[in-house]
Amino acid sequence: MLYVAQFINALQLGSIYALIALGYSMVYGIIKLLNFAHGDVIMVGGYVAIFALAAGFHPVVAVILVILGCTALAIIMEKLAYTPLRTAPRISVLITAIGISLLLQNLAQLFFGARPQPIHIPFPTGSISIGAVSIAYPMIITIGVAVLSMVALNYIVQGTKLGKAMRAVSEDTQAAQLMGINVNSIITFTFAVGAALAGIGAILFFVRFPVVTPTVGAMLGLKAFIAAVLGGIGSIPGAMLGGFAIGFLEVIVNAVGLSRWTDGAVFLVLIIILLVRPAGLVGKPMIEKV
């Protein structure tokens, strides 16, 4: 019975990682940028939630505010910092992304202090019992919301005209431009979708770990990013798969009593996957043309 509980636990953690990993993967797929600041978007989402709840908004409104806040932040970030660097070498863009991450963390520290702040998102409590196993509602809701978000994303990418444009830009930016696609607005849209998923991920994350600090996004972002690499960066199903894989890995490492090595295990997986199969589990290997 313990196994079933741990299984659900891993699914919950994995779906949070998967939601965040999707943002990394989509942005990388479209402009080959490692958006280091993606994890910090989640941190900002946490502070937005604290303030929205403290201001007395209805929890549903607060959740919407968090998602909108994350999306707006990502769009501003993209317009101010990444758009001027569209043609710059990739190393410059990567350094800029690190700079933005640093900026967000330090601004948060300046405004809200380094002290961890508790956050209480009103979520239905209680649990249902299936046989001898009892599953808490937040777990079910987390998994359900994550699956719904992924289905919605899949519909946007595969079923709409915008999604078609996104796929075209990520395949060949110049050819897409020649076909009359506004590449800049598609890139902004990709950032926005990734950030909205991060906003949902932020809510689910803070339900499970109810403390916000200015650096909470750093490690979370790093792990979600590893999940994206594991699945195959640039690939949407890969990010989902990688997210769940990292969730399961963490729960298993914790369950066998090696909780101090959890972070180490995740990094080890990253190193192994990059050495053995840099394109990730479902990614296509990149061929270098001379």
Partner: protein, 336 residues
């Protein structure tokens, strides 16, 4: 071009005199009690940040890769140096030098172990895998409390880092990296940065040179780590987190990727800035982050670009300007 052309031995003599004068001057100032404790600390800190930045500049600026795990090598060196000194195998200056060399060598070995697999990748992937390795080193240190003191850290490390020790290391580091870059090996490294495939097709063993650059970089990061341990007298694993790697990278990038002078100036400015903006200390990192973004947008080559300082060239310019009429077409001299 009508250059005055100072002969190589004369250049060496000029540079050596200037270096000795600088060391002597610094030694007198720091030992003479003219500075406050805080100022002395900053001078020492500037020293090991120069080593860290110059050593990171080798793979980041000259080789054109972006390692994000420099703090990991620094950690290895710091712990090896600290353990060496605490064990008291040697005494006096032998101990200081032995600890520094041991720290450097073990770090370089780590650099090779990490570099061989990591350098098969490039660009973003290399950045991530070095980040992963750097964090792994920190996790290892945290989880080996019997050797490293774990999360509580290592205490009572002999404080061996004074001005003389630190700045002799700075000069050795700059000199070695400068000489590598002026040699055949250095040209191979620059060629890899400019076009790896073309370099390989010219018959240059790119893997060998990449690993070499990585190992030399790790060696000096290790030495800097040992100096860091010898300055603070206490080590905690959280000192060597991702932020430390980013701090070093920031110095290199702001100074100019591929400019040793840029790294040195960057280290001096960014490390001593807190001294001059005490009231603004809480805004310091915000300003740095903004600077990083703005420099990338408006001057991606950094403040110094790839310009490198050479005393010989400066003297030639000044000399050539005043004495142009005296001498016609000096011997062409490209050794500097």
């Amino acid at each position: 071009m009508n250059r005055l052309g100072i002969k190589t031995p004369a250049r060496y003599a000029i540079n050596a005199t200037l270096i000795i004068a600088f060391i002597y001057w610094g030694y007198v100032i720091t030992q003479g009690g003219m500075l406050t404790r805080a100022q002395n600390n900053i001078i020492i800190q500037v020293g090991f940040f120069i080593i860290l930045a110059v050593s990171l500049n080798l793979p980041a600026g000259y080789l054109g890769q972006l390692p994000l795990g420099h703090a990991g090598f620094m950690a290895v060196g710091a712990y090896i140096g600290a353990l060496f000194w605490r064990s008291g195998i040697l005494s006096g200056y032998g101990s200081v030098v032995g600890g520094l060399i041991a720290a450097g060598i073990v770090s370089a070995i780590f650099g090779i172990i990490i570099g061989v697999p990591a350098l098969r990748l490039r660009g973003d992937y290399l950045a991530i895998i070095t980040l992963g390795f750097g964090e792994m080193i920190r996790v290892l240190i945290m989880n080996l409390p019997s050797i490293t003191g774990g999360a509580q850290g290592l205490q009572q490390i002999p404080r061996h880092s004074n001005f003389l020790v630190v700045y002799i290391c700075v000069i050795v580091c700059c000199l070695v990296i400068h000489m590598i870059m002026k040699s055949r090996h250095g040209r191979a490294i620059l060629a890899i940065r400019d076009n790896e495939i073309a370099t390989e097709s010219m018959g240059i063993n790119t893997t060998y040179y990449k690993v070499m650059a990585f190992a030399v970089s790790a060696f000096f990061a290790g030495v800097a780590g040992a100096l860091y341990a010898g300055t603070l007298g206490i080590l905690v694993p959280s000192d060597f987190n991702f932020m430390m790697s980013i701090n070093i990278l920031m110095i290199v990038v702001l100074g100019g990727l591929g400019s040793m002078m840029g790294s040195i100036i960057g280290a001096i400015v960014l490390t001593s800035l807190p001294l001059f903006m005490q009231g603004l200390n809480q805004y310091r990192l915000i300003i740095y982050a903004l600077l990083l973004i703005l420099v990338m947008i408006f001057k991606p080559s950094g403040l110094m670009g790839t310009y490198d300082f050479s005393m010989g060239h400066v003297l030639e310019k000044v000399g050539g300007w005043t004495m142009r009429s005296k001498k016609e077409g000096g011997a062409s001299d490209d050794s500097e």
